[in-house]
């Protein structure tokens, strides 16, 4: 991994402005970040800092937890208590953090591989328990950090470094998975929907319970170029054309195909209320 990081650091982009609009939530001394140009991760981070800003969540109440991956490196850029854990274990770490310190507003920010391959079991159990946290998954359809292997959200037929003949597995449809596991808020947007993402994050952060936001995000290096999506900017353009907003629709119909022109359903699928893990636990224990 070290060599990969080195490579990336060599091509790190220049900052275009001295002051980031939401700098207060970012560790300025750690910028510029390590991500490739055209990567969707920077804008996803910005949406989250904007959402914190908008909601006026005190910085010292925020805990950001990531797993491992390009997306996992996000935790290190937040000027909050921030935890870069192990591959797949961001959610259980965040569960411990939240239960031990219920005052914290806990956000998990991680990748599709981290949250749904190695960490998939924890996702469904945290959703089932309705642990009060917001999980943001940056879905770039591949394992970016390790060099573009296929993962649990790679569309069937897509090329990846471990699917040279095309991926013959069926991917997860994340909103459907989250909804059926019990998430009380489920939304999907793409990197082109900056304002919508921010709004979804604000809603998710404001809700008590397990909320989930999926962001479809370009990874030109690991996925886009190999799969007819081109550079980051091309993928964003394609999202403009391909996405249809269907709030409240059945998340079961939100599957993503490899075809770069196939429709992608985005929107808010679930907004529900259910007592959180701690609420229910305390109710039961009170009665004793």
């Amino acid at each position: 991994m070290t060599t990969e990081l080195k490579q990336k650091e060599e091509v790190k982009p220049e900052l275009t402005s001295a002051e980031h609009p939401a700098t207060k939530y970012l560790r300025e001394e750690r910028l510029p970040h390590i991500w490739c140009s055209g990567c969707g991760l920077g804008s996803a981070v910005t949406s989250l800092t904007n959402a914190y800003e908008k909601l006026e969540i005190p910085i010292d109440d925020i805990g950001v937890v990531s797993g491992i991956g390009c997306t996992g490196r996000a935790a290190g850029y937040f000027e909050t208590d921030s935890y870069h854990t192990t591959h797949g274990r961001a959610i259980p770490f965040a569960t411990g953090l939240k239960l031990s310190n219920p005052e914290m507003n806990v956000t998990v920010f991680s990748g599709d591989g981290d949250l749904f391959a190695i960490g998939g079991n924890h996702f469904i159990h945290a959703a089932r328990r309705n642990v009060d946290m917001t999980v943001i998954c940056v879905n770039n359809y591949n394992f970016g950090m390790t060099g573009g292997q296929f993962g649990p959200t790679t569309p069937q037929g897509a090329t990846a470094t471990t699917s040279p003949y095309g991926n013959y597995e069926d991917p997860f449809n994340l909103p459907d998975l989250a909804a059926s596991a019990g998430a009380i808020y489920v939304a999907r947007w793409t990197s082109v929907h900056a304002r919508r993402i921010q709004q979804a994050m604000e809603e998710a952060l404001s809700k008590r319970g397990f909320s989930f936001v999926e962001i479809l995000s370009p990874c030109p290096t690991g996925y886009g170029r190999k799969n007819d999506l081109g550079e980051g900017i091309d993928e964003l353009k394609s999202y403009q054309d391909r996405t249809v907003i269907k709030h409240g629709s059945d998340p079961g119909d939100a599957e993503i195909e490899r075809d770069p022109e196939a429709e992608i359903v985005v929107g808010k699928f679930v907004e529900d209320d259910r007592p959180t893990y701690c609420d229910v636990a305390d109710d039961y224990l009170q009665g004793q």
Partner: protein, 381 residues
């Protein structure tokens, strides 16, 4: 039961229950675990007692998540623990490494059973002793206690919590099925329970470096929500806690993880000795095997054999200086353990050829006969 955190009084309880009580007495207020024989009584006791003392118990979906939640719980500001047995201990290894690398205080009790794999789920074993030191990838110092009774399950769990906080690291209680399930008298006295408080920062947030060590090589910890805005990562990091992937930082960081245990051995290492003043042959033992070794020792003394026992309270860090000294004094050392030869390697290494070292193995599932140990002692004379 009692809603007191520390159940002062005399009790008749098994080792698992005593372990849970020791944790509560030491201030543990977060437990995350996954059921496994012969550990389940710890989790069961915690599920009952944690709410009584205002703590949180959570049964996780597996041991991977249990240890991850414990690390999160510790950073959340609680004294935190999990408990397991061999299969679960194996699953925890990666995040034990994260706990070592991020210097996260917590306690992990391993109630060992016959192994490897599913092995002997309901029967005694000591097969995870080396795993405690070497189980997670990479170099780091380890502190591990080996209790030999329910009373020690209580006492050593308290010690484990204190050392975890003092040295900011996961600390192990390496018990076994027999000690876990054995019922004996356990005396609890609140006035004797000492608590090592969390090492909090003493400077303002803008001056604080989460991984800048004090003179004892141990840093300080700012919990979530205290305004220090720490970054915690398993990547090699500088004193600020930020990833820095170079040899110098690796040397400084990982070197210190080893040194903070190694250079503080005088404070950490504990062992008991019996009859060593005039000993010609020595038994080095720990945990359940020590109880059998005591029988062999008594028989030897009755027969006029000048035997002595060194009993390891802390198995890690290994007391190599002490064993080296003893090895110069005796004709041989016998090491009974309920595995096919683990800590005996350390005894051999420490003895450095000064004396003959003999393993008395047991594959697990039962105990040695004292006579087996006695015969080995006699053979060395």
């Amino acid at each position: 039961m009692s809603d007191e955190a520390i159940m002062t009084g005399k009790h008749f309880m098994n080792g698992d229950e005593a372990c849970a009580e020791g944790a509560l007495a030491a201030g543990c207020r977060f437990f995350a675990g996954y059921p496994i024989t012969p550990q389940s009584e710890i989790a069961e006791r915690m599920s009952k007692r944690m709410p009584e003392v205002g703590g949180r118990f959570i049964q996780m979906e597996d041991e991977l998540s249990s240890i991850a939640a414990v690390l999160g719980g510790s950073w959340g500001g609680s004294r935190a623990m999990t408990a397991t047995s061999g299969p679960g201990f194996s699953l925890m290894m990666e995040n034990i490494g994260l706990g070592m690398m991020t210097e996260t205080p917590c306690v992990i009790a391993n109630i060992q059973r016959g192994s490897p794999s599913t092995g002997l789920p309901t029967a005694v074993g000591q097969g995870d002793m080396m795993q405690a030191q070497w189980g997670s990838h990479g170099d780091y110092g380890v502190i591990a206690y080996a209790p030999t009774s329910p009373q020690e399950m209580f006492d050593f769990t308290v010690k484990a919590f204190n050392k975890a906080e003092q040295y900011m690291m996961p600390v192990f209680v390496m018990a076994d099925e027999k000690i876990g399930h054995m019922r004996e008298r356990v005396e609890i006295d609140e006035s004797k329970v000492e608590i090592y408080p969390r090492r909090k920062p003493e400077v303002d947030p803008d001056e604080f470096k989460p991984y800048e060590p004090d003179d004892d090589l141990v840093p300080r910890m700012a919990s979530a929500g205290e305004g220090y805005r720490v970054h915690v990562t398993g990547l090699t990091h500088n004193q600020q806690g930020y990833p820095q992937l170079d040899v110098e930082t690796q040397q400084e960081k990982v070197g210190r993880l080893v040194d903070k245990v190694d250079k503080n051995k005088d404070d950490i290492v504990e062992l008991d000795t019996i009859g060593i003043e005039d000993a010609e042959v020595l038994i080095v033992s720990y945990g359940m095997a020590f109880r059998t070794a005591m029988g062999a020792y008594k028989q030897a003394r009755e027969k006029g054999i000048k035997a002595g026992i060194v009993r390891l309270v802390t198995v890690w860090p290994f007391p190599e200086d002490e064993i080296k000294e003893f090895s110069k004094q005796v004709k041989g050392i016998v090491v009974p353990e309920i595995n096919l030869g683990q800590m005996v390697r350390e005894v051999e290494r420490a003895s450095a050829g000064n004396t003959e070292v003999k393993l008395v193995p047991h594959p697990g599932g039962g105990l040695h006969e004292p006579e087996q140990i006695l015969e080995s002692l006699e053979a060395l004379l």
